[in-house]
């Protein structure tokens, strides 16, 4: 049964997975803010990040870093393709929110099945980025992969913050988030911002997938659970607040790790989903309150 001496160790690993959920959660928020759409195909990006990197390593023998960067770029491009092929036609026809959800969920299935056909159904993994024994900090083992996850996530969050604050495109996207019609009247190309949002969101998802894969595995069907965890992170943080979503991800990671310690690894998805339902029923506006639209 639960041994309390493991708790610090468990919390440290919860931090790692929490960063990954946070990145996925930010991806949800970026698209939502630009368009009001919740993209249920978000998990496909996470899955593709790991799978494409694996493919580049295995088939073309690329080193890890270029492979990872190429994978992120390819997935970001696929995000734009998804936006053009599925989301844009529905958007132009003023489809209902429900139709949009169903269409992106169907897109998730299509991407999963294509990956299954191309890549096979065997689970795949990536080598750890730095192959050294874990550091011992006060009796807690900290693996180098964890440092990579936390470091890269913080870097991504920082870069995103700078992008939204300093660049013209970032500012335009924030204007869209505040009021799309007013933004359009200011001459901001709202539809191009939507494509940019899908690219950023897909890139973040791919990055999350690449970072987490060395600690577990990836397969064609890992996307949906990741997407749901990211969605939970976004809800806990107050939907539409990218940095709230990151905090929400950290919280979810910690709760989930404690649940694994208490009940066993098989129940981690049930634990995460129960957090979701709890938040939906009791505090749907999240810990920090929903972003005002």
């Amino acid at each position: 049964m639960a041994d309390f001496s493991y708790i610090p160790q468990v919390l440290v690993s919860g931090l790692g997975i929490g960063c990954v959920y946070g990145l996925i959660g930010i991806g949800f928020c970026v698209i939502y803010n630009a368009s009001g759409i919740v993209n249920f195909a978000q998990g496909a990006f996470v899955m593709l990040g790991g799978m494409i990197t694996h493919g580049l390593l295995q088939r073309y023998g690329l080193p890890l870093l270029p492979a990872a960067l190429i994978a992120i770029a390819v997935v970001a491009l696929l995000g734009v393709v998804l936006e053009r092929v599925v989301v844009r036609p529905l958007w132009d026809r003023k489809a209902t929110m429900f139709t949009m959800i169903l269409a992106t969920l169907a897109a998730q299935i299509v991407i999963e099945r294509l990956t299954l056909i191309v890549g096979g159904d065997q689970p795949k993994t990536l080598p750890v980025f730095t192959d050294l024994p874990p550091l011992q900090i006060g009796g807690v083992a900290v693996s180098f992969q964890l440092l990579w996850i936390v470091g890269a996530s913080l870097l991504a969050v920082g870069a995103l913050a700078a992008f939204f604050r300093l660049t013209r495109t970032g500012k335009a996207m924030r204007a869209c988030a505040i009021n799309r019609e007013a933004a359009a009247l200011q001459g901001i190309p709202v539809s191009r911002m939507l494509a940019a949002a899908f690219a950023i969101s897909a890139g973040l998802g791919a990055m999350a997938g690449i970072l987490i894969t060395p600690t577990q595995y990836t397969a064609f069907n890992v996307g949906v659970p990741f997407a749901i965890s990211g969605f939970i992170a976004a809800i806990v943080g107050g939907f539409g607040r990218p940095f709230g979503a990151f905090l929400g991800g950290l919280m979810l990671g910690l709760v989930q790790s404690l649940a694994i310690l208490g009940f066993g690894a098989g129940w981690k998805t049930v634990a995460a989903l129960s957090v979701l339902l709890l938040f939906l029923f009791i505090r749907p506006s999240g810990l920090l309150g929903a972003a005002t639209k």
Binding site: L90, E112, V270
Partner: protein, 324 residues
């Protein structure tokens, strides 16, 4: 939209004129089922599955078509019904009918418990909340191995029957399934024209307006959700008795996408739509049989195309083109 096929709007809720266009979908369904009964064998199996899905989709249509609500988690209730039937008959040697009744009762109780808080949610929250319920139940069927055997699945489930009589032949099962689908279709047609049907169509139009008219919106939504869950549970039970085996994959996300495709192809909100959609979607990809991954690919792509180009389903295309 004055055709008698698209009875989605309140003003057409009166008894429709019996035109050939009303009869055609039923004629199609009857012809397909009749052919399968006459031929037996493999076509009977395919049509049998289609009819089981039709029961599920009729339930989905009550909640989504009539009341314009969203649930991505109805597979949860199919899993509850299916697994209750499977465990009680295979492990505890009950007869199918009482086991099915217990499964349906369990599905109703759980639907009531989670429906009450869930149905207060709106938009994305409702969508994700219901999706979560479906996934939670699926995870439980995987992890609760002492009862469900996890991915191994449960086998040795007896065929449907009652009073010492078992329906073992293809044709017998098909006739049984066709009767269930006919009864469910009749029920949904009656419901549509009842007080509840009118209330649901008011809720579908605008919850605020319905509330202003004095309709107990929350109660009718829950009632539609419960009916939908009961039909899902029934479909789950029928499935395990017809196949004789159940595993967690049966009631997964695959089922959600498949049944949504059926509902959209047949025409959401119509009476005959679920049956027609279930039959068409089951018959079309027969050429892909054996390549399950291509099937899901085809369903997903078809669903996206339908949502973009024909959101009202085949029945709408049909009535538009043949308008006199």
């Amino acid at each position: 939209m004055t055709s008698s096929l698209s009875i989605t709007s309140p003003e057409t809720a009166h008894r429709p004129r019996l035109s050939w266009r009303t009869v055609l979908p039923y004629g199609f369904a009857a012809a397909v089922v009749g052919y399968a009964i006459a031929v037996g064998g493999y076509p009977a199996t395919v049509v049998g599955f289609a009819l089981i899905y039709a029961v599920f989709v009729i339930g989905l249509n009550l909640f989504m078509g009539f009341a314009n609500q969203v649930s991505f988690g109805q597979n949860a209730f199919a899993a509850i019904g299916g697994y209750t039937s499977a465990v009680l008959t295979a492990t505890y040697e009950w007869t199918p009918l009482p086991a099915m009744g217990v499964g349906m009762a369990a599905a109703l109780v759980i639907a009531g418990l989670i429906g009450w808080p869930t149905l207060r949610l709106k938009g994305h929250y409702l969508a994700m909340g219901t999706l979560a319920i479906g996934l939670i139940v699926q995870e439980i069927t995987v992890e609760w191995t002492s009862v469900t055997q996890g991915y191994m699945g449960l086998s040795g489930i007896p065929p449907m029957g009652a009073f010492g009589f078992e329906i073992t032949s293809d044709r017998g099962q098909l006739i049984m399934l066709a009767s269930v689908v006919a009864a469910a279709t009749f029920l949904s047609a009656r419901l549509k024209r009842s007080r509840m049907g009118r209330a649901l169509s008011a809720v579908a139009g605008s919850e605020e307006a319905a509330r202003a008219l004095g309709i107990a919106v929350a109660r009718y939504k829950l009632l539609a959700f419960l009916l939908s869950a009961a039909l899902a549970s029934l479909a789950g039970s029928l499935f395990v008795h017809v196949v004789g085996f159940v595993s967690p994959e049966v009631f997964g996300l695959h089922m959600v996408i498949l049944t949504f495709t059926m509902l959209y192809v047949g025409g959401i909100g119509t009476i005959a739509g679920p049956v027609v959609g279930a039959l068409i979607i089951s018959l079309l990809p027969e050429t892909f049989r054996g390549f399950k991954e291509y099937q899901d690919l085809a369903y997903g792509a078809a669903l996206i195309l339908m949502l973009i180009y024909a959101p009202k389903g085949l029945s709408a295309l049909f009535s538009h083109r043949r308008r006199p």
